[in-house]
Structure formats: C-alpha cells, structure tokens
C-alpha cells in the first residue's frame, strides 16, 4: 500500500517543480502520464484478478506486479488450504460411507416421507434395493410386503418388525426404524434367519424328545396298568411283555443315541489311527446285505487305494448309518450302490439308492435332531430320528462333510467327503 502511495507522491514531487520552474504544460504532461501508467498497471492486475475470479481454479502462475503480487499469493494460499480441507473432508466422508457399506447390518436412510435417500450394500442385498435408481423413491414401492406397509402406516416403531421374505430363498429379517436428525429415519435391517432357525430347532428339539419318549412310555404304562388290574392268561401276558420289551428297547435306543450325540459333541477330537478302509467298506457291504436280506441289489464300486486317519469306531458308526438308511428307505427290488473313492486329493464314501427320495426343501434340515420328513413312516422303519445328526457330528469331527442330493421318486445320494489331510497310505 505504501509503495503505491509513494509512487503517487513521487510523480507529484517531480511534476510540480518541473511545472513551476520550467514549463507549466510539461509539469501537467508528466503528472498525467505518471498517473496513467500507474492506473494502467493497476488495471492490468485487476483484469487478471477479474479473469481468475470467473473461474477460480488453483493456479500458481497467477502473478501480479508489486503490491498485487502479495494479494495474489495470499489468495493462492487461502484457496489451496481450502481445497486441502475439502479433500480431507471428502476422504473422511468416503471412509465413513465405506464403513457403512461394510456393515453386516443393512442401513437405509429415509426422509420424513419414507423416501430412500441412501442405502448400504447389505441393505441392497437384503431388501433388493438398487441404491442408485431407487434414490428418492418411497421405500414402500420396493419393499411391498403388506406387513411392512402396515408397520409404516401404524407409525409405532418401539418394536422391530420381523419380516419373512421368500424372494429367492427363505429369509427372516428384523427391521428397526430409528428417528434421527430432524424428521429423518434410519432403517436398520438385521438378518435373523440363522437365529430364527436355531430358535425353531431348540423348540422342536425339546418337543421332539418329549414326544419320542412319551409314545413308548404311554404304551408301556398302559400294559403295566392292564397287567396290574386284569387277570390275563399266560399267552396274552407273554404277548404284552414282548410288546413292553420292544417299547423299552426303543426308549433305550433313543437315550443311547442322545448320549452318543452328546458325547461326540463334548469329547475331545478323536485320536488319529489308521483305519483300514478296504476291510471297513467290505464290512459295510456285508452289513447291507444282511440288513436287506435279499430284497435289494447291493453293489460296490471302489476306486483307488488308501486309508483314512481317524477314529475307527466313529467312522464305522457314521458310514454304517448311511448304509442302513439306504436299505430302510429303498423299496424291495431297488438297488443300493456303495461308492468308495480315494486319492491323494481326498476321499469320498457315498451311498446311492433308488429309494423314495427326499423333497429338496427337507434336505437342509435332515441332519437336525428328530427332524422327520414323514413322521409315521420313519418310525415304522425303526429310526430314532438321531441317526443323521450323529453322522454329521462324527464326520465334522473328521473335517468331513455330508453332501445330500436327492430327487423325489428317483433316489438319494449321501456322500461323506474327507479332506486330503485325512488320507494316508495312497
């Protein structure tokens, strides 16, 4: 500022004596020329600033003369700091959004009219939203379940809404609507399919144990009462006692299976002994023939040589269970194929039958305790309802998986797959 002032005073200081002592017009000319030059310099810098302000990008080449340069540099610094601050903010926001996307729970932000403003990836998946195209659309347009629409309409969000979706596959979601900021809503979606299923399983388990034990118990106590109160001849007595024996046997096998199951669950992992699989598979085939008593064709396909590492007794009980199931659920005249394949990459023991088959919707639940596709039929066949649960547990203790494929009316295939770490002596 001072320099600009100094320049003005200097012009006047030279022009005034010149005009006074030499020629008056010369003084004026000099004065005006000086001022005009001065003005032109200012104008040039001002027009630079004006040009820049029309499109204020960060430009280090913006230079001015004298005083102006300082102003320009200050502007440049200020602009730069501002840009850095914005960038930092944007990075923070992007990180926050990424965190929201990474959440396990679905998050949907809604405005006061329940229009979608934002949703994270989990919510997209859970509710079938599309975050880009659905922005601004009322959420009720996409999530059309009447239960959800009623929930929104009732406007009582003190309890979460449990929503069952059967889009693609059965899913159970729990939806919380939380008010935030001013007149905005945050919809939190939790996938509770697993817990819902576990709850159901626990309820079923207790109900099933009681039911399974009560049925034979009712028969038993009925006969006991009869024998106590009525005089029966020896022959009937023998018959009753035989039936009572059968029922108590049944209860015993249920309790036995339950104990096996709980001991498998709580016991330490099995010691790794080398199990002679050729002998074991052959024994399974003979067992199947004995159980079938000529009603089925029993085939054995064996491929590769080698043994498994694991607990022999657990493997025998698991694989024998698969074989006996196949025999029991295959009508007479059908065929049962035992398939044993082993290689360095892993091993597989499969039982393929031409039996009644299983509806696909039952397959995921087959290994649940007491889960039955058809209550009456499986009890007639003499099952306790725990067989496959035991199989699954024994196998998982050997890091093996049970794969079930089946077509109703055509037969089923139960395959136990062992990882390469369990294979030895190939």
């Amino acid at each position: 500022m001072q320099r600009a002032l100094f320049y003005g005073v200097l012009t006047a200081a030279i022009a005034f004596p010149l005009g006074y002592f030499v020629e008056q017009w010369m003084g004026w000319v000099l004065f005006y020329t000086g001022l005009s030059l001065h003005l032109a310099m200012h104008y040039r810098n001002f027009s630079r600033l004006e040009r820049w302000s029309r499109k204020p990008v960060l430009d280090a080449s913006l230079e001015g003369d004298g005083e102006w340069d300082r102003v320009f540099r200050r502007l440049y610094r200020h602009e730069k700091e501002l840009l850095e601050k914005i960038e930092r903010r944007e990075r923070d926001i992007a990180r926050l959004i990424a965190a929201v996307h990474a959440m396990n729970d679905g998050i949907v932000l809604l405005d006061g009219e329940f229009r979608i403003q934002f949703c994270n990836k989990t919510a997209e998946r859970q509710l079938d939203l599309a975050s880009v195209t659905d922005r601004g659309a009322p959420i009720a347009n996409i999530v059309r379940q009447p239960a959800f629409i009623d929930y929104l309409a009732k406007a009582d969000f003190s309890r979460p809404l449990v929503l069952r979706l059967d889009r693609y596959f059965e899913r159970v979601l729990s939806l919380y609507l939380i008010a935030y900021a001013e007149n905005h809503w945050l919809l939190q979606v939790k996938d509770i399919t697993q817990t819902d299923r576990l709850d159901g399983m626990r309820r079923d388990f207790v109900a099933n144990v009681s039911h399974e034990l009560r049925t034979p118990l009712t028969v038993l106590s009925g006969f006991v009462e009869t024998l106590q109160e009525i005089d029966v001849d020896t022959e009937s007595r023998q018959h009753y006692l035989q039936l009572m024996g059968e029922q108590s046997q049944r209860m015993q096998s249920i309790v036995q299976d339950l104990l096996t199951l709980s001991s498998i669950e709580s016991a330490p992992p099995p010691e790794d002994q080398q199990v002679d699989m050729a002998t074991l598979v052959d024994k399974l085939r003979r067992d199947a023939e004995a159980l079938s008593a000529g009603r089925h064709r029993i085939l054995l396909e064996s491929e590769g040589q080698g043994d498994l590492l694991g607990s022999e007794s657990e493997l025998v009980s698991a694989l024998a269970n698969l074989v006996s199931n196949a025999v029991r659920y295959t009508p007479a005249g059908g065929s049962i194929t035992l398939i044993w394949k082993i290689s360095a990459a892993g091993a597989e023991f499969a039982v393929q039958d031409t039996g009644i088959g299983i509806d696909p919707k039952h397959i995921p639940r087959l290994t649940e305790r007491f889960y039955r596709v058809d209550r009456g039929r499986s009890r007639d066949a003499g099952g306790t309802g725990l067989g496959l649960a035991i199989v699954k547990h024994s196998l998982s203790r050997h890091q093996a998986t049970l794969e079930i494929t089946s077509k109703p009316g055509e037969g089923s295939r139960f395959a136990a797959k062992f990882p390469s770490s369990r294979v030895t002596g190939v």
């Binding site: 009322p138 009720a140 347009n141 996409i142 059309r144 379940q145 009447p146 059967d166 509806d359 109703p408």
Partner: protein
C-alpha cells in the same frame, strides 16, 4: 408463477401416491400368490381363508385406484408421460386384480385336493417351480413399474415363454398319469386347473410389463412379437 409451480408439484405428489397405491396392491397380490404356493406344498389349508380375505382388500384397492385415475384425468387433464402413466396404471390394476383372483383359485383348488385326502406332491410335477417362475415375473413386473425400468419389463415378457413351455410339459405329464391310472383323474384335474391359474398369473405379469413399457417408452407392444426382439 408461484401458484402454478405449487399446483404442478401437488400433481406430482398425487401421481406419486397413485403409484405407491398400485405397488401396495401389488404387494398384496404377491403375498397372495406366495401364500397359495405355500399352501400347495405344505398342505396348510388354513391360509386359504386369509388368501380369500386378502382378495377383498385387493378388490377395494382396485376400485379406489381406478377412481383416483378418473379423478386425475378429469381434474388435471394430464398430458404426455403423465397421461401415459395414469392410463397404464388403470390397466395394470386390472391385471393385478385378476392375478389375485387366480391366486384365490389356486388356494381353493389346494383346499379341494387336501380335503379329499390327496397329496399333490405324489404327482411329482414341477408346480412349485412353475409357480416360483410366475411369482418372480410378477415381482419383476412390479419392480419394473416401481423403477420405470423398461429393460426389466422386456425380460419379464421374455420369461413368459418359459412359463408357457413348463405349463405344457406339466399338462402332458398329468395326462400320462390319468391314462395310466384313472383314479388320479380328480386330483389331476385340480392340479391342471392350478397350473392353468399359475400360467395365467404369468400372462398377467406379462401384460403389466407391456404397460410399463408403454408408460416408459410410449410404445404399445401388445400383440407384437417383433417389438421385444
């Protein structure tokens, strides 16, 4: 100036509400259909009553939406895309209502079969698969309407051909059953009418998608196989 802005945004709001109502009705029909399929596979005929009751709600909504459409046309005289939307909606609700009726038919057929003591599962036909395909069509048609997504609508129309093929194969299978064992005729006929209803649901979904394309693109592609290629 301000006045007209206010009026037109009020109009937009009306249209938005109308769309939401249509989708709400669609949601009801979707649940009706999936409940009917569930009843078929599980044999829980208790849900049949709910399905029939929901149908009443669907009918009421159809009437209300139709009324709203007439009101909007009379009061606002919409033009261009707004007019197409209102016209499209009045056709879509008709198809939705009919799809709901078909769901009701399925439910009643299921009740007939189970009350007669038969198990449709024994017939081993792919009804569930067919029904899921039809239900997906309805869902996608409604999604296409909600998002005004012409591409999705076209894919729904294409899916209809698959449903038709599957329907025909079910009929062939049931005919074989009936020829082999005349005792299965009663149940087979019920299953045929159920699969027919499902196939019709697919057709309604297709009609809805055609209307969506009309709303979005302004072309009428009904009865025009070339248009979707």
């Amino acid at each position: 100036m301000n006045e007209s802005l206010h009026v037109s945004s009020q109009f937009d709001e009306d249209l938005g509400r109308l769309r939401t109502h249509v989708l709400q009705m669609g949601g009801l029909v979707e649940t009706q259909i999936s409940a009917a399929i569930d009843a078929y596979t599980t044999g829980e005929v208790a849900s049949v009553k709910t399905i029939v009751e929901t149908d009443r709600k669907v009918n009421d909504l159809e009437k209300a939406i139709d009324d709203d459409c007439a009101h909007i046309i009379a009061k606002r005289q919409p033009t261009a895309s707004d007019l197409r939307l209102v016209l499209g909606i009045s056709k879509i609700v008709t198809d939705l209502e009919r799809a709901g009726d078909e769901a009701k038919k399925i439910a009643k057929g299921v009740r007939r079969i189970y009350e007669a003591g038969h198990m449709p599962a024994q017939y081993g036909v792919g009804i569930r698969h067919l029904a899921e395909a039809a239900l997906t069509m309805v869902r996608q048609a409604l999604d296409a309407f909600a998002r005004l997504d012409g591409t999705l609508a076209v894919s729904v129309i294409r899916a209809d051909a698959d449903v038709d093929v599957e329907f025909k194969s079910i009929i062939r299978q049931l005919i074989t059953h009936m020829m082999e064992d005349p005792r299965t005729i009663t149940t087979s006929i019920d299953i045929i009418s159920i699969s027919r209803a499902i196939e019709r649901i697919g057709d309604h979904a297709k009609n809805i998608s055609e209307q969506v394309i009309f709303v979005v693109e302004g072309r009428d592609i009904r009865h025009n196989k070339e248009a979707i290629k």
